[in-house]
């Protein structure tokens, strides 16, 4: 059993691919079909390019503050590939790659960070909860989603994400604990990207690993190389199987690195060194996955160059669409407060509309 | 003496059943020792004695029910007889009192009052009937009410001149001046126009005699003023050949007498009016100019103007559509008599839906009667006279002609409607058979 093999208390970290894309753990190499492998890679690339471009747009003043995912593509795409459409993704706020794989469109993703709630209106059948800003509260949501699945008797599984800093928050404790109490079909993935804004991982908790916290809740925990898409896939796959069998939740710690800033308003050079960043650049998740695919003759430089071109164009076009998208209307910002607007709220809306119309016509004079 | 009450022991219980007494009346109980065991929803509660003393009375016997707040035991602790009355099973209305165990119980629950009081049922899910407006008490501020009480005036008999018909202090003072006036028909306050009246020009001091007008006259003044200021009125006139009606009436005068009714033309005309109102409901309505709404009424209270020595009064026949011609005749007589005796009640003057005025009794023929606001029309009835008329054969014959003058509120009734109303009325009055049969 995977989780028995890798005890976080003993400092054992699960990995399948080394940083050069070579399989170093044959027993646990997951069998994924070619199409899926390529799709995983393409999604990781899309996330990477979209991220880089978004940062550029932001510096150009065309995009608002957002949270980059650079360096964390494998810890997000790997797990998503191990789930099915009926399963749920309950993200924090740095899961763009996971959301793209799961069925959110780039347009929606950009639209959200651009400042329009329509970006959270994912398509029918796409079970993603909206981006969650208050840290930790999403874990309780995930427990609820999983709890509902259990009561309904479906075998949906809820996958939720949190950062290393987030594990200090009370709601992480309450939510993971809740999952354990009821043996819920829930997989909590901690993206340990080493920093909570400027606070290093060592100051989030005295515990040596985050995965070992699972012991306190009576559930299995495993520390995984977060930059290894295959290892993340395999660990999640096991966890999902457990969950569907009614064996309860699992805690996975993905050890990765936040290559970019916390958000575009952050300057990481203040609190970390160039060397450290370069060290992690060597372990880049995309590079090693590319090499793995290349070794299996599924990908090559030519295809990669073409992909990059295609994605760059797609990203640019999408962003243009977002820029040209209509801003929320007066009705849109009011009408979703309740199912039906109460009388007084309707009056308040109309009063603002009247004022706006007056301003518009007044401007003609 | 200690009246030891059964407390809510913190589980949210409100009653229990006595399982076992460990003491009998007359025994000495020791503080802290279990005195009685009470069975509740959750637990079998062992209740310890609150103090040393002699058990004087048990609140309930084994197998009986005891409610939270009721006395469980009366213990004589030698402290005196202040609460020595019998401790009957009180209705458990009080919350647990001072000697209860709120300190040790300090149950997270606190002390929740229990009782068997029953609230009136709610009828929200049923349809609620509309209340008759005349049933409502007089609108008046408490200050006015107090004044009325102090001055010995029944506030319900006073016509209010304040907003919404409210009785103001001036109204009360005026009423208290001793005059038992019958109030005029409801004249709701116009929207402030009456206030802006031009000043009275100076009249000579010599050769004139001033006389204060009566309350009735004052109210007539107000009603006429209101009608004039609010309603742009116009009158449609016609002369109707009622030869057949006259014949009919003459034939049936005797029959009426046998039934103790006087068959004059008025009840017949009113009958025809009601039938016509039903077909032209705008004439049986009010125009609410504040809300810009026409208020159609499904009841027919026909006002009949009565001339009295003190002035004009217009009581109405309630639900006139439900009365026979004989009954209408009786009502007219009754109202006229009451009006002259000044014993008309306020309600008989209220809620008129359409009025008729029979100045024909004084010989007048055509006129321009004034609408009683908030009605939308009024029918002036002139004297029936013999006149030459042209019949169907183009011959000139002697006919009985009834002049009618219909004044309408031109804001909501146009000339066309007025004409049509008159035409229909004419048809009924032309032919009494049509009146009776349709």
């Amino acid at each position: 059993m995977l989780f028995d093999q890798y005890d976080p208390l003993k400092g054992e970290m699960f990995t399948v691919l080394d940083k050069d894309g070579k399989v170093v753990n044959k027993d646990y190499e997951p069998s994924i079909d070619d199409e899926t492998l390529v799709h995983m890679y393409k999604t990781m690339q899309l996330a990477r390019i979209a991220d880089i471009k978004a940062l550029q747009y932001q510096r150009q003043g065309r995009m608002l503050t957002f949270a980059p995912v650079q360096g964390q593509e494998a810890s997000q795409v790997g797990p998503m590939a191990a789930t099915e459409q009926k399963d749920w993704l309950v993200p924090a706020f740095r899961e763009a790659a996971a959301m793209l794989y799961k069925g959110a469109t780039l347009y929606q993703n950009y639209l959200y960070w651009y400042g329009n709630e329509l970006g959270s209106q994912y398509d029918e059948g796409v079970n993603i909860m909206p981006v969650n800003v208050p840290i930790g509260s999403q874990i309780n949501h995930a427990a609820g989603v999983a709890h509902a699945a259990k009561i309904k008797g479906t075998d949906e599984v809820a996958i939720t994400y949190i950062g290393d800093g987030g594990t200090s928050n009370g709601e992480f404790h309450e939510g993971v604990n809740w999952g354990g109490v009821y043996d819920l079909p829930m997989v909590t993935i901690i993206q340990n990207n080493q920093y909570a804004i400027s606070t290093p991982r060592s100051q989030a908790t005295r515990a040596k690993t985050l995965a070992q916290k699972a012991h306190a809740y009576g559930i299995p925990g495993i520390q995984v190389d977060g930059n290894d898409a295959l290892a993340m896939y395999a660990a999640t796959s096991e966890a999902v199987k457990r969950a569907r069998n009614g064996e309860g939740p699992t805690l996975i710690e993905a050890v990765t690195y936040r290559m970019g800033p916390h958000t575009t308003s952050d300057d990481p050079t203040i609190y970390r060194s160039e060397e450290e960043v370069n060290e992690w650049r060597e372990k880049d998740p995309l590079t090693r996955f590319y090499k793995y695919l290349a070794n299996r003759k599924l990908w090559n430089k030519e295809k990669d160059d073409a992909l990059q071109e295609e994605l760059k164009k797609f990203v640019a076009d999408t962003f243009k669409q977002v820029e040209n998208a209509p801003h929320p209307t007066l009705d849109e910002v009011f009408d979703y407060t309740y199912e039906t607007l109460p009388k007084d709220l309707k009056r308040q809306k109309e009063a603002i509309r009247a004022y706006q119309e007056q301003q518009e016509s007044g401007g003609d004079e | 003496m200690i009246n030891f009450k059964f407390a809510d022991i913190g589980e949210g219980i409100h009653e229990g059943v006595i399982l076992k007494w460990n003491y009998e009346v007359g025994d000495t109980v020791e503080e802290g020792e279990t005195m009685v065991v009470v069975e509740t929803d959750k637990v079998n509660a062992e209740i310890p004695a609150p103090d040393n003393g002699v058990l004087k009375q048990k609140g309930a016997e084994v197998g009986e029910e005891i409610h939270v707040g009721e006395v469980l035991a009366v213990i004589d602790d030698g402290s005196g007889d202040d609460d020595a009355e019998e401790a009957p099973k009180e209705e458990a209305k009080e919350t647990n009192d001072d000697d209860d165990d709120e300190e040790e119980g300090a149950s997270v629950v606190g002390a929740v009052e229990t009782s068997n009081e029953v609230l009136p049922a709610s009828d929200e899910h049923k349809k609620v009937e509309r209340k008759e407006p005349s049933d409502r008490p007089a609108l008046a501020t408490p200050v006015a009410r107090k004044l009325a009480k102090d001055l010995g005036v029944d506030i319900k008999t006073i016509e209010g001149t304040g907003p919404g018909g409210r009785v103001m202090k001036e109204d009360i003072r005026a009423a208290a001046e001793g005059e038992k006036e019958a109030p005029a028909s409801d004249a709701p306050r116009p929207s402030g126009e009456a206030q802006t009246r031009p000043a009275m020009p100076k009249l000579p001091e010599e050769g004139v005699r001033r006389e204060k007008v009566s309350k009735l006259r004052q109210s007539i003044v107000k009603a006429m003023d209101t009608s004039n200021q609010l309603i742009p009125a116009t009158t449609i006139m016609d002369e109707i050949d009622v030869s057949k009606l006259v014949e009919f009436r003459n034939e049936n005068k005797g029959l009426a007498k046998e039934h103790d009714a006087k068959l004059t033309y008025l009840p017949l005309i009113i009958k025809a009016v009601i039938k016509t109102l039903k077909q032209y409901p705008i004439f049986n309505a009010s125009f609410d100019h504040e809300n810009q709404e026409i208020v159609y009424k499904d009841f027919f209270n026909i006002g009949v103007a009565v001339d009295t020595p003190d002035g004009l009064i217009v009581p109405n026949i309630k639900n006139a559509d439900q009365k026979s011609i004989f009954e209408l005749a009786s009502e007219i007589d009754r109202l006229a008599a009451s009006a002259r005796e000044r014993s008309i009640g306020l309600s008989e003057l209220q809620n008129t839906t359409f009025s008729v005025t029979n100045y024909g009794a004084f010989g007048a023929k055509l006129g321009t009667p004034v609408i009683n606001h908030p009605e939308t029309g009024i029918l002036g009835i002139g004297a029936i006279t013999k006149k030459p008329v042209v019949n169907d054969n183009d011959e000139i014959v002697v006919g009985h002609v009834l002049p009618l003058s219909l004044t309408i509120d031109h804001r909501v009734i146009d000339g066309g409607d007025g004409g049509r109303f008159m035409l229909q009325l004419k048809q009924y009055l032309n032919d009494p058979m049509l009146l009776l049969l349709s």
């Binding site: 749920w88 309950v90 709630e117 959270s120 209106q121 079970n127 909206p130 800003v133 208050p134 509260s137 874990i139 309780n140 949501h141 995930a142 427990a143 609820g144 989603v145 709890h147 509902a148 009561i151 309904k152 949906e156 009370g170 709601e171 309450e174 939510g175 604990n177 809740w178 109490v181 979703y336 309740y338 109460p342 009388k343 007084d344 709220l345 | 949210g12 409100h14 300090a106 997270v108 629950v109 606190g110 002390a111 929740v112 009782s115 068997n116 009081e117 029953v118 609230l119 009136p120 049922a121 709610s122 929200e124 899910h125 409502r136 008046a140 408490p142 200050v143 009410r145 107090k146 907003p163």
Partner: protein, 325 residues
């Protein structure tokens, strides 16, 4: 028809909805096996099973947070916070998520959640068991808040709250859980959320109250008798508030008194008075007034009498406003 207390009426509504709608679940601390510390949910676990009616860890954030997840995934959770004074650890989830999910996702997710909590004082309990915090909820767009004062309304509002597709906070005035009984229809029925109830019609003064304080107000009105014609309104829903009913009433009477047990500053009374100012200013004959608890922490039982608003005080205040010239 059956005669029942307010508490039993809530139980009845929950029982009926658990039966009629399998997506309804009910949970909270000690709410399952024991039926709640007040026994409001007694017998429900036995009838409907442990999967749907269950006890939770001491985790208010968990209770509300999981309700949000459950509601997003097809359930209609009815949760309990043991006392309104303890809702604060869960308030984060209520304010930042529960109130906003519909808006945040432009309608993709809506949360048909009910959060029940016993509230209000007059029960001589420990600290934190007597709070009256309706203002906090009313100030957050996206939440609804109802407070029944009779058994009939309790069942009707609970049924409506469960059927509502938006989150509804349901305050249970614990002081009157068992203080009286009333005939309650046995079949399913709703009391409209957002609609006040005219308890009695009158012409001299409009008095507005809700919860346990409504009954105290009724005692005061009984004392006053015929001298003042009081129009009494039970607000029933705090958000969305039926201020129109109050405004229309004041247009008739010209005078307003709001009575509530919550503290004065920024209590619901201040909102009602503002709305009456906006809608009925020209009909006013006296200053619209509120009678409330003072701006202090609810005292422990021995000091409660300084804090409480009771019938004699209410009577005095009604007279003051009614006779004002």
């Amino acid at each position: 028809m059956a005669t029942m207390t307010l508490l039993k009426a809530i139980n009845n509504a929950l029982d009926q909805q658990l039966k009629n709608d399998k997506s309804v679940v009910l949970y909270g601390e000690d709410a399952g096996f024991e039926g709640g510390v007040f026994r409001v949910t007694a017998g429900l676990q036995k009838t409907h099973g442990k999967d749907r009616v269950f006890d939770t860890p001491i985790s208010e954030a968990g209770i509300i947070g999981t309700a949000i997840g459950m509601a997003s995934n097809g359930m209609r959770p009815v949760t309990e916070i043991q006392f309104s004074g303890f809702m604060f650890p869960g308030f984060n989830q209520m304010a930042v998520h529960m109130a906003r999910m519909r808006n945040r996702s432009r309608g993709k997710y809506n949360l048909p959640i009910v959060v029940r909590m016993p509230y209000g004082g007059g029960v001589r309990a420990l600290e934190h068991h007597s709070e009256s915090l309706e203002t906090l909820f009313a100030h957050i767009p996206g939440l609804k808040l109802v407070i029944p004062s009779t058994p009939y309304d309790a069942k009707g509002l609970m049924t409506a709250a469960i059927k509502d597709n938006d989150p509804v906070i349901y305050f249970e005035p614990k002081k009157i859980y068992r203080a009286f009984k009333q005939e309650v229809p046995e079949e399913e029925y709703e009391v409209e959320i957002g609609k006040a109830r005219t308890v009695q019609e009158g012409s001299d003064i409009t008095v507005v109250s809700w919860g346990a304080m409504l009954h105290e107000t009724m005692k005061a009105i009984k004392e006053i008798g015929d001298d003042i014609s009081v129009e009494l309104i039970d607000l029933r829903t705090i958000a969305p508030m039926d201020s129109d009913a109050v405004v229309e009433s004041v247009k008739k009477t010209g005078r307003l008194l709001v009575v509530h047990e919550a503290v004065k500053t920024l209590g619901i009374g201040s909102e009602l008075i503002s709305r009456v100012n906006e809608g009925a200013f020209f009909h006013l004959e006296a200053q619209p007034t509120r009678l409330t608890s003072p701006d202090i922490t609810v005292p422990l039982p021995k000091g409660e009498r300084h804090h409480i608003v009771d019938a004699p005080r209410i009577k005095q205040e009604i007279e003051k406003v009614a006779y004002f010239e």
